[in-house]
């Protein structure tokens, strides 16, 4: 008897007969059977809401509904919202407000909002939050989503497309926004050839274990569904990958031992997706569990087992910055503050689990998957497969959030191996659990620091020491160890400084890149100490920071002088908020005893681009014979907006209206390397390459037309019209020969930011430029429960030049949400919080009201003055919130994040005890 019966659903108004198992998730039916891939899967557990559809008008998680229950029902998916090419009012509002960043949560958000909007044209903020509370977003911080839903009742004009030379600075709606809104976007899991094999990965159930694998051929023979199994022994290349090639140490498939829970051991290949539902407990593998090292102090202890034999004391690497003479600095001090602080593992929790598809094109392995770094994927995959890099082609799919973890390869070598070995197309979609177990995390930090100031409040010295749990493999551990000492002073003048950071191996998941590479952790302790010093000096906390803020041409702790330091401008911008709220807080606290409010502030600085290493971007810009201007935009847009801001910069440099520029993404076969989307480098570095390419192409056009520098260029069908005053020139493109890339005119420019190698004490020029920012946060603490609600945040960021205020605000909102999560709720515990039920990220109801100050202190190095923003937005949030908690509670200080209620209450009680003892 077959296990499937015929079911009839009405989907988006059309009857669909489906013959699939009755217990199939509706989400699977929609995606796999009906190819309505607009409905997204983020967790398969009801926790993320990305799969929200309407069933008979009511929102449900389609991942939790069986096909049998949907029989006879009316289903509405995101694909039903637009009317042909015309977006619905709700979708238009999302675009206008920048409510979709990566777009992976957007279908769920839209479907959750749709019934609200139908019933209520003018919903309140609270009503919107209630309606959307079941959908998580990791990019936007929800602010723009709420604005959009509240503004969806009426037809309103879209943001105008900018005029010539008016693109930079304009509130341009995302140029790649429409597919994110109508369900057309193709993320990692959304495309697969019909006959694709399906991959499932067998992973280590232990933090540390040895294993032996038995008769795999016999096992395959026993299971009809399984076509192949691949093991480490099937890898022909070097079975070792890693983002920093000299440190590469992670096997694509473990050989005989697993160093963390979730490490890949075998690829099980099935003919259909049913392989995902199959019981594989009879797979012939024998495990011997070994004692696991989960903490850095255990890892460092004498005689502890080495996780990598060649890394003594389990230390992967250390970093140091030494400037001036700290003994002198501490000796001259009037006040010293000292503290220890520890932070948790933090999970990126993008809503899109890793996914992709691969196939052979002749002898080239083609891999289409979500990523932040297509060229690095190509190189690492080539190495594992033992192929030259030309034989790997990476086509980045749309990426549903990354935040650092999609810099490292995940699915790519696995897909590549199977495509290469079988010659057949294949696909993989990680489960939420698998994504959380196996991909990188933010480094937990165990930090000590002391900072000294003189009577007048000037910082005289700082000493910092941090051990960062880098987990089982190197990943970006070296970057954290080098970045932290360079940034731990904050953007403050610190004449005497010594900072050391180490990356330590444990059997935890590999810690890698996560917005800020360790700097968000070290900023917490530095900014907490600044509060203590301000108090000791009797200076207002904001004034204390302004007193010490770096100024132009001050010497940094790396002995670098910076020409465009915007930190004091940022702090100054917070003053009105600071004054207003201090007054309101005093009034509130005088009237309330159970709830107490407080305010905190924190700065940040962050060097854009790789630390003292080359990291060029190359932009190709071409014009076709029929007059199309094509920008090869290779910066992976993981939601942050490169597909919009890079064309904006390019358009102004070229002197064409933005609407004339079309883009091609980071397909490694046709687009030059724009490097990775990390280190807040894309708008600066790829943006500069785009500016240079635009200028170069403009020069070519002007040369051909023999007209002056401020001539006007206009595109026409097959020609370019150039005019300068009453002089005119026509360039007949259709008569020109195309180059091998298909362009009759083309410019290709590379930009590599000028940095200098650092000496043994970290002195030199680590970054070509820095961005600056400061946040002030107002919180309300429930003194009986220890719960914390963040009420307001004022965020000031020096972007050098604001390319797109709409997108910049969206970055700020999203950074704040992640910083808030890190401060108050996020704690990844290996083996215990491997899902979005137990690992909590902020929901729509947890966000404060945010005010923005976009500051422009142009940096001569950046394109049109631009500095980076992507990571800056997260760094000051947690320190500002934690400082606000201490302020609200009359001195209760947390020495560990996250500040979950029981820890906050314990800190309040400890503070009460201290105060009582003092009385």
């Amino acid at each position: 008897m077959s296990d499937q019966e015929q079911f009839t659903l009405t989907v988006n108004g059309t009857k669909a007969n489906v013959s699939r198992p009755a217990g199939m998730r509706l989400s699977e039916v929609l995606r796999e059977e009906l190819h309505l891939t607009g409905t997204k899967i983020g967790c398969n557990a009801g926790d993320c809401g990305a799969c929200t559809v309407l069933v008979d008008g009511e929102p449900v998680c389609s991942c939790l509904m069986t096909l049998a229950k949907a029989d006879g029902c009316h289903i509405e998916t995101v694909e039903s919202l637009a009317n042909g090419s015309k977006l619905s009012l709700l979708q238009q509002a999302f675009s206008r407000h920048g409510a979709a960043q990566c777009g992976i949560c957007t279908p769920g958000m839209l479907m959750a909002a749709a019934p609200l909007i139908r019933a209520n044209k003018a919903p309140s903020r609270a009503e919107v939050e209630d309606a959307l509370g079941g959908v998580l977003c990791r990019c936007t911080g929800y602010a723009k989503i709420i604005d959009a839903v509240m503004d969806a009742a009426m037809e309103k004009p879209a943001m105008p497309m900018p005029v010539r030379h008016g693109a930079v600075g304009a509130r341009v709606e995302r140029l790649d926004g429409i597919p994110k809104l109508n369900g057309d976007e193709v993320f990692g899991a959304d495309y697969w050839p019909e006959n694709a094999l399906y991959l499932r990965v067998l992973r280590s159930p232990y933090h540390s274990a040895q294993f032996t694998i038995g008769d795999v051929a016999a096992w395959v023979a026993k299971h009809d569904l399984i076509s192949h199994v691949f093991l480490a022994s099937d890898i022909d290349g070097e079975n070792q990958f890693g983002v920093i090639p000299p440190m590469a140490d992670q096997p694509a498939l473990a050989v005989d031992a697993a160093r963390f829970k979730g490490e890949a051991v075998a690829i099980i290949v099935g003919q259909s997706q049913d392989v995902a539902a199959m019981d594989i407990s009879d797979f012939p593998i024998e495990w011997t569990e070994l004692p696991a090292i989960m903490d850095v102090d255990v890892a460092l202890a004498d005689g502890t087992t080495l996780i990598h034999a060649h890394r003594e004391n389990n230390i992967l690497i250390s970093g140091i910055v030494k400037h001036g003479d700290i003994d002198k600095g501490f000796g001259a001090a009037d006040h010293i503050a000292e503290m220890s602080f520890s932070t948790s593992y933090v999970e990126h929790a993008y809503i899109e689990p890793e996914a992709g598809v691969a196939w052979m094109d002749g002898d080239t392995v083609v891999i289409q998957a979500c990523t932040q770094a297509p060229i690095m994927d190509r190189d690492d995959t080539a190495k594992v497969l033992g192929l030259p890099v030309e034989k790997i082609r990476i086509i980045p799919s749309a990426t549903g959030g990354g935040f650092g973890a999609k810099l490292d390869v995940s699915v790519q070598p696995l897909l590549g191996l199977v495509a290469l070995k079988t010659g057949q197309p294949c696909r993989i979609v990680y489960s939420r659990n698998e994504s959380m177990m196996s991909t990188t995390k933010r480094h937990p930090g165990v930090m000590q620091a002391r900072i000294a100031a003189d009577k007048k409040g000037h910082i005289t010295a700082m000493e910092f020491q941090g051990d960062f749990n880098t987990g089982a493999y190197a990943s970006w551990g070296p970057t954290v160890a080098s970045r932290v000492p360079i940034h731990a002073s904050g953007p403050y003048k610190t004449p005497n400084y010594l900072a050391k950071a180490r990356a330590i191996h444990t059997n935890g998941p590999p810690s890698g890149a996560f917005r800020g590479f360790g700097v968000p952790q070290s900023t917490i302790i530095q900014e907490a100490l600044y509060d203590e010093l301000a108090e000791k000096c009797g200076i207002d906390r904001l004034a204390f920071r302004r007193l010490n803020a770096l100024k132009n041409n001050d010497i940094t702790i790396c002995n670098q002088t910076l020409p465009a330091v915007g930190i004091d401008d940022c702090l100054a911008a917070l003053e009105p908020f600071w004054q207003k709220h201090q007054q309101q807080i005093a009034d509130f606290n005088a009237k309330n005893s159970r709830k107490k409010r407080g305010i905190g502030v924190s700065s940040c600085w962050y060097g854009c681009g790789n630390t003292a290493l080359p990291n060029p971007s190359t932009i190709r810009l071409g014009i076709t014979a029929d007059g199309q201007v094509v920008l090869h935009q290779g910066a992976a847009d993981i939601g942050q907006g490169s597909n919009t801001v890079i064309p904006q910069i390019c358009a102004d440099a070229l002197g064409l209206p933005l609407a004339h520029i079309s883009i091609i993404g980071g397909d490694t076969a046709i687009t030059p390397d724009c490097g990775k989307t990390s280190a807040s480098r894309q708008t600066f570095i790829t943006g500069k390459a785009a500016m240079l390419a635009g200028q170069a192409l403009r020069r070519q056009i002007l040369r051909l037309s023999n007209l002056g520098d401020d001539a006007i260029i206009e595109m026409a069908e097959g020609s370019i019209h150039v005019s300068h005053g009453d002089k005119q020139h026509e360039i007949a493109l259709s008569e020109m020969a195309a180059n091998p890339y298909g362009y009759v005119l083309m410019a290709e420019e590379t930009y590599n930011p000028p940095t200098e190698e650092l000496d043994a004490f970290g002195q030199g020029k680590p970054y070509a430029l820095y961005g600056f920012g400061a946040h002030a946060a107002v919180v309300e603490v429930d003194m009986h429960l220890g719960t914390v609600k963040v009420l307001h945040i004022s965020a000031a960021h020096d972007l050098g030049k604001v390319v797109n205020p709409l997108l910049a605000e969206g970055q700020i909102d999203g950074g704040i949400a992640q910083g808030l999560g890190m401060a108050l709720m996020e704690e990844y515990i290996p083996g215990r919080t491997e899902n979005l039920h137990d690992y909590l990220i902020p929901s729509i109801g947890d966000m404060p009201e945010i005010e923005y100050h976009l500051i422009e202190v142009p940096d001569p190095e950046g394109p049109m003055g631009v500095k980076g923003l992507g990571e800056h937005v997260l760094i000051p949030t947690a320190p500002a919130i934690l400082n606000a908690i201490t302020n609200a509670t009359g001195g209760a200080r947390l020495y560990q994040t996250p500040a979950v209620p029981h820890r906050v209450l314990a800190a309040i009680q400890a503070n009460n005890n201290v105060n009582e003892a003092a009385e």
Binding site: S2, A22, M24, G49, T66, G133, H784, D838, A906
Partner: protein, 295 residues
């Protein structure tokens, strides 16, 4: 009745209780599926496997009916059904709890029997239903039995349900539908949150004096509990008395004596005791405020 089978997978969606219990009488290994909001998260597979008995097609198991001296909640009644139902104030706490179960999407699917049979220590409806003196109706091919909810749940995820029994209804005696009620839940974020602690209170007041109190705490202990001592202490209290609010007369020690607090990542044991007291007092004060304002 729709029945679909293969060697290892059966999915049956009967339309009547009789058909459903028949299925269980022949294959007791079958898993009962309702909203699947607890079941589906247990697997990342694209579908349910094994033997599944889907009870959501059974009309008699959905909806709220008045049975004379009992109010009957069909086992497959969803949280949304309960939120939308017209019920006396004694149920306000249950509605408040329902509104805080996951999200609207979860409330549209999740059912009352699912919450009780899953028997998580953090199940939000349990303290409310304990404070309503609810019993559960279990039906099998050999008949029907009723058990007080307080007896039914015996441990974390442990109940007295036999493998061949379906929870066809939850019953609340009309005599317990009296008074006003309130519910408080504590978690680390606003939506989609599993409780660290929750408290339910139902209080009856006559002539300004508390005549009956039903108080319950959940998520603190392996099984949600009623607080007999605190309830008894409240009787006779004048609601306009100067020692109101509740924090003046509810003692942490009374709570500690009743519950065996959970100590885990979401909260330490001592935190739970403190928070339990705070939430319980809030729930009681909420009730009394309703009475005072004539609610």
């Amino acid at each position: 009745m729709m029945s679909v089978m293969s060697s290892n997978t059966t999915y049956i969606r009967p339309l009547t209780i009789e058909d459903a219990v028949d299925v269980l009488s022949t294959s007791a290994a079958a898993v009962i599926a309702a909203g699947c909001t607890d079941l589906f998260p247990l697997t990342s597979a694209p579908r349910m496997t094994g033997q599944v008995l889907d009870v959501t097609g059974i009309k008699d198991m959905r909806g709220i009916t008045d049975n004379g001296d009992m109010r009957r909640f069909g086992g497959a009644t969803t949280w949304t059904d309960i939120i939308r139902a017209d019920l006396p104030p004694a149920y306000d706490m249950l509605k408040l709890a329902a509104r805080e179960i996951g999200s609207i999407q979860i409330q549209n699917a999740g059912t009352i029997a699912g919450n009780l049979c899953n028997a998580s220590p953090a199940a939000d409806s349990i303290p409310c239903l304990l404070a309503l003196d609810a019993s559960v109706e279990l039906t099998s091919a050999s008949g029907l039995r009723q058990l007080p909810l307080s007896d039914f749940i015996v441990g974390p995820r442990k109940t007295l349900r036999q493998a061949d029994e379906i929870m066809t209804a939850v019953l609340v005696p009309k005599s317990s539908e009296t008074g006003v009620s309130s519910f408080r839940k504590l978690g680390t974020r606003k939506y989609l949150i599993i409780s660290i602690v929750m408290a339910a209170a139902r209080i009856e007041v006559k002539d300004n004096r508390i005549t009956h109190a039903a108080l319950s705490l959940g998520s603190c202990s392996p099984v949600a509990v009623r607080l007999d001592k605190v309830e008894a202490d409240l009787i006779g209290m004048d609601i306009h008395n100067a020692t109101i609010p509740a924090s003046h007369y509810v003692e942490e020690t009374d709570i500690e004596a009743t519950i065996n607090p959970i100590d885990d990542v979401r909260g330490t044991a001592s935190y739970r005791i403190t928070a339990a007291k705070t939430l319980l007092c809030e729930a009681i004060d909420n009730c009394l405020n309703q009475v005072r304002s004539g609610g």
